[in-house]
Subunit: 177 residues, 2 copies
């Protein structure tokens, strides 16, 4: 498997913007500069972005516009909204635009990394999902696997000083999560 921090395989070159433009057109929407900037951000990040991340990297874009663009792009099948464990939404490009992946969620620093599963594991996953329908009647359209743990950096810090407990990321988010 590969851990990526850049755009997925299918997002290289200009095919990404062509694809997005086509999907927006099918939804009777335009591919304006604001929306293009958002898609660029998501493609370059290579991992789900929070609205805070987006505001940092695109300070000129009002949040209401960012949220609206994300809704529009989601409805056009370009963006997927994922609920992280801290209760805040994060946004990423749809999997059929990048590629199927899972998330490595570091519970110490809060970082989310993308990881592409091995074919062997995806095969096991698919036969498992198929068996669900037989036993429960549940028909699966999609799945999401989040692996919780410590990223390489935090793990090094953790083993460097085993006597001290590392602080966890956002244990009790203040205000409305």
């Amino acid at each position: 498997m590969t851990v990526s921090r850049g755009p997925g395989d299918k997002t290289g070159g200009d095919s990404l913007h062509g694809l997005v433009e086509e999907r927006l057109r099918q939804a009777a929407q335009r591919y304006t500069s604001g929306r293009r900037a958002l898609v660029d951000l998501l493609a370059q990040a290579g991992h789900p972005l929070s609205i805070e991340d987006i505001a940092e990297q695109a300070p000129r874009m009002p949040r209401s516009s960012a949220y609206r663009h994300l809704v529009d792009l989601q409805q056009a099948g370009v963006v997927r909204r994922v609920a992280a464990n801290d209760g805040y939404f994060r946004f990423e490009l749809a999997e059929d635009i990048t590629e199927h992946h899972h998330h490595l969620v570091c519970t110490y620093c809060g970082q989310v990394l993308d990881v592409t599963p091995t074919p062997a594991f995806e095969q096991a996953m698919n036969s498992y999902l198929a068996s669900l329908t037989g036993s429960s009647g549940f028909v699966s359209d999609d799945h999401r696997l989040d692996v919780l743990g410590a990223c390489a950096t935090c793990n090094r810090a953790r083993s460097a000083r085993r006597d001290q407990a590392l602080p966890r990321a956002t244990p009790q988010p203040a205000g409305r999560p």
Copy 2:
């Protein structure tokens, strides 16, 4: 695998309350009637409950108390808070009190069901998680798998009238999700 709607294997009888009381004691907290009522609710549900579910089934309990109990129980390692795809939190008993399970999330009616994975799949999962450490340096403590799709009821409705699109659960939650 089994799809459960009742308490997990380890929650039968009175061992559940003894275990919870012990964990609360270790956190210097009491196992009061309000907290016991919440634990009973979660154990009987057998699937993650929203604050709305809890308010329905325990109308006498103020929400502020319910939230506070859930925070306390979470800190004592009794309850786990899960972020559903609609942006609302749901609450369930910790896995080491019930048993390891995954979630079937119906994207039509919003229902969340628990499902216990097959040993074969869990074995594939474990070797996959182990391989992550080698390739990325990420050390996994835990994982969560959510299967998105249509539950048996919604799937029947979906195939009964293929010409009509079924409404999706909370596609655009009004106000603050």
